[in-house]
Symmetry: C2
Subunit: 142 residues, 2 copies
DNA sequence: ACCTTTCCGAGTATTTTGGTCGGGTTCGGA
DNA sequence: TCCGAACCCGACCAAAATACTCGGAAAGGT
């Protein structure tokens, strides 16, 4: 049930960029220092964040990365899905990457896994980058 | 965020044994057939279930496995923790296997991971083997 | 005795994870 | 125009976890 380092690092990077919003672009090295992630690895991750439209970049000196969208529009659940794969604990209940299972019909576990998937998604899909910055989690908002 | 096969198989086995309750002992081969898990692998898992007190066994002919405790007393969250490790998505918010992190203080992600841990635990620790058998999940009970 | 069945430690192939590396491209400035 | 800063991007790699298999030893029943 762990979340891997890729997802964690991606969110850390997005948080740094969100705080830096409005300023000039931030180079890889700058982000890397702040979040304690090896620069070459972080580069891979930023590339994917860029491909998914969260981030834009500029090359050359004074180049770097910056947020492309408003923190309010970055849904944490989506970021995690795109960097880690489905939130569902088992393939048989995944909406985004369903995998069949021979025991599936009549399986007494399936409803449980579906419930777990829903509760996790309920949290992560209702949290945005802005919420993280301001410390407003779903619980507090209800 | 996946649950591994060990946990899944353990729960499948417990469900089979729970349905068989009161009857004679069920041999490895019988369980293995019903839940479609390779017998030697399942054996490992049953051994761990036994060590944790969920199951008892008898050797020799007419031997096999049987549930040691009432299905009502088997908490799914505990089974998962014992076979898969902590429910927390990150070491820094794990109650059962805490791991320090250099960014920890002031980390904006920590509260989110703690919330995820709590919501997952809220579901799995409120569900018992009996609930699975009767299809009564936490959602339905509230 | 002998067969059945669990016990249990060791080995192993595959996949995932968490990176590194090297060369290319693009930009800005001297 | 040349140089260095910075991103782009595919390939590679080592360690760990996963999902098993195997080979005996021990115990129970007949």
């Amino acid at each position: 049930m762990k979340v891997s380092s890729r997802g964690e690092y991606a969110l850390r990077a997005l948080l740094v960029l969100a705080r830096n919003r409005g300023e000039e672009m931030m180079p890889l090295s700058g982000i890397s220092e702040q979040i304690l992630v090896p620069a070459p690895y972080l580069e891979q991750i930023l590339l994917r964040l860029k491909q998914h439209g969260y981030v834009k970049s500029k090359r050359g000196s004074n180049g770097g990365y910056t947020l492309r969208v408003r923190p309010k529009d970055v849904v944490i659940g989506e970021v995690v899905r795109q960097l880690e794969g489905p939130l569902a604990p088992m393939g048989c209940v995944s909406l985004t990457a369903y995998e069949a299972c021979p025991l599936e019909e009549g399986c007494l576990l399936k409803p449980l896994w579906a419930l777990v998937r829903d509760t996790v998604a309920h949290v992560l899909d209702r949290t945005t980058l802005e919420d993280l910055l301001t410390g407003k989690l779903p619980e507090n908002r209800c």
